[in-house]
């Protein structure tokens, strides 16, 4: 008991405080329409970081499927998904958070991957190696902090 307490305390000191508060992927509460009201880290995200997560191939790689005019200097934006220009006029912050965390809760059967989910996969692999990964080692595609950063970026995309 005492040792566990010390370990937890050490984790709080070592990790950035925002992460210590994060909701685990299995504990996120989605409403009936797939929206998530509370920040996954308990704090607002950073829009500038979010734009990086959005456009970096090895991170969110959202541009592989979505175009965003505000990121015009990012090459090769895909069109499997809709353009996200003006997305914040169409959806609230809560809805956007739900879509980014697990789009399948908003759009049944969508091709958009679930970025904050760790179970329920068929033949999950270790990143892009083609090798199997044990279920307990699966981490979400994006961290809670990265999700919040992307959400902070997307809520800036307004036409009106």
């Amino acid at each position: 008991m005492k040792r566990a307490f010390h370990a937890a305390l050490a984790a709080c000191i070592l990790a950035p405080s925002a992460q210590a508060e994060s909701v685990a992927p299995g504990d996120v509460s989605y409403d009936e329409a797939g929206a998530v009201a509370a920040s996954l880290t308990g704090q607002p995200g950073n829009a500038e970081e979010g734009a990086k997560v959005f456009s970096t191939k090895s991170v969110g790689n959202c541009v592989s499927c979505h175009e965003v005019t505000a990121l015009a200097d990012v090459p090769f934006q895909g069109n499997v998904g809709p353009s996200l220009d003006g997305v914040a006029d169409r959806w609230t912050e809560h809805e956007i958070r739900g879509i980014v965390a697990d789009a399948k809760k908003t759009y049944d059967g969508t091709v958009m991957p679930s970025f904050y989910k760790v179970s329920g996969f068929i033949r999950p692999g270790k990143a892009y190696t083609g090798k199997a990964i044990p279920a307990e080692e699966i981490t979400p595609l994006l961290s809670a902090q990265q999700i919040e950063d992307v959400v902070a970026f997307l809520v800036t995309l307004k036409d009106e």
Binding site: K57, N61, V63, S64, C65, E67, P75, F76, Q77, G78, N79, V80, V111, P113, S114, F121, I122, R123, P124, G125, A127, Y128, T129, G130, K131, A132, I133, I138, L141
Partner: protein
């Protein structure tokens, strides 16, 4: 870049072999009305490389296999040519009907499997690596003599069970990205996924010479790459799962011409 559909060009190889690159989808394909060769989704310069054998880098593999065809190997001291004579005559039409159920073997076989059977059972030679250069060159040679003929793999009778299994695999969403073959190649062909222009993922053009890795690529090597890209555990080349998937994917291209070796990026 947005919305670059399949183009309207037509493909004739060496000014004489007319290739059917678009045609009505076979009845057994629910999700498509038209089937389209991957050639239509490539840039003009890439397309042009396939229109003349002197420009097609995949033909170097065909030439290499031509020599192997004549060369005796293994404990029986036999070459492919000793039993099959002229490849242009005996292998014409073969590519078009594979994978195919083989009565004697009691299973659906790919070209790679029959070739390796001839090597191990009839020549006393070692099996070639399933996706290696030797076998892929040989498949390219055998494909090349069927160019222009319609793909026509059988999906009924003893092949039916494996075809169903392949279909199931085609629509299963695998890996941490939870994507099926159909998500990319049926729902989204014509769209861009990052820098890649998505085709229907047809295999009538295999083996494909890819400019990206500068070699001939086999069907199962491509399947492996696509499954890996869903962040999934892949199946092994030559596995029963990939043989089933090949049978199913080949059948989605029934009616397109055999086009291999083709050129892709």
């Amino acid at each position: 870049l947005a919305n670059a559909d399949a183009d309207e060009d037509t493909l004739t190889i060496n000014g004489e072999i007319e290739i059917v690159t678009r045609t009505a989808a076979p009845d057994h394909v629910d999700g498509l009305s038209e089937v389209i060769s991957g050639w239509h989704f490539r840039a003009d310069e890439t397309q042009a490389l396939e229109m003349d054998d002197f420009d097609n880098p995949g033909m170097l593999g065909v030439e290499a296999a031509m020599e192997v065809w004549e060369t005796a190997e293994g404990s029986e001291g036999k070459a492919c040519a000793d039993c099959h004579e002229s490849v242009e005559e005996t292998m014409k039409g073969v590519r078009a009907v594979y994978p195919k159920y083989n009565e004697a073997a009691g299973e659906v076989q790919t070209l790679e499997m029959v070739i390796n059977d001839c090597r191990t059972e009839r020549m006393g030679a070692e099996a070639w690596n399933y996706t290696g250069a030797d076998i892929t060159n040989m498949v390219a040679l055998i494909s090349s003599v069927s160019r222009g003929m319609p793909v026509n793999v059988a999906i009924d009778g003893p092949a039916a069970e494996m075809w169903e299994q392949g279909k199931e695999l085609y629509y299963t969403r695998t890996g941490q990205l939870e994507l099926s073959c159909a998500n990319c190649h049926e729902d989204n062909y014509g769209n861009m996924i990052r820098a890649d222009h998505l085709s229907q993922g047809q295999i009538n053009g295999f083996p494909t010479y890819r400019l990206k890795n500068a070699k001939l690529n086999s069907v199962h090597a491509r399947f492996k790459g696509c499954v890996r890209d869903t962040r999934a555990e892949t199946y092994a080349p030559g596995s029963p799962e990939f043989v089933a998937l090949e049978l199913y994917v080949a059948s989605r291209g029934n009616g397109l011409s055999v086009e291999g070796p083709s050129v892709r990026n």
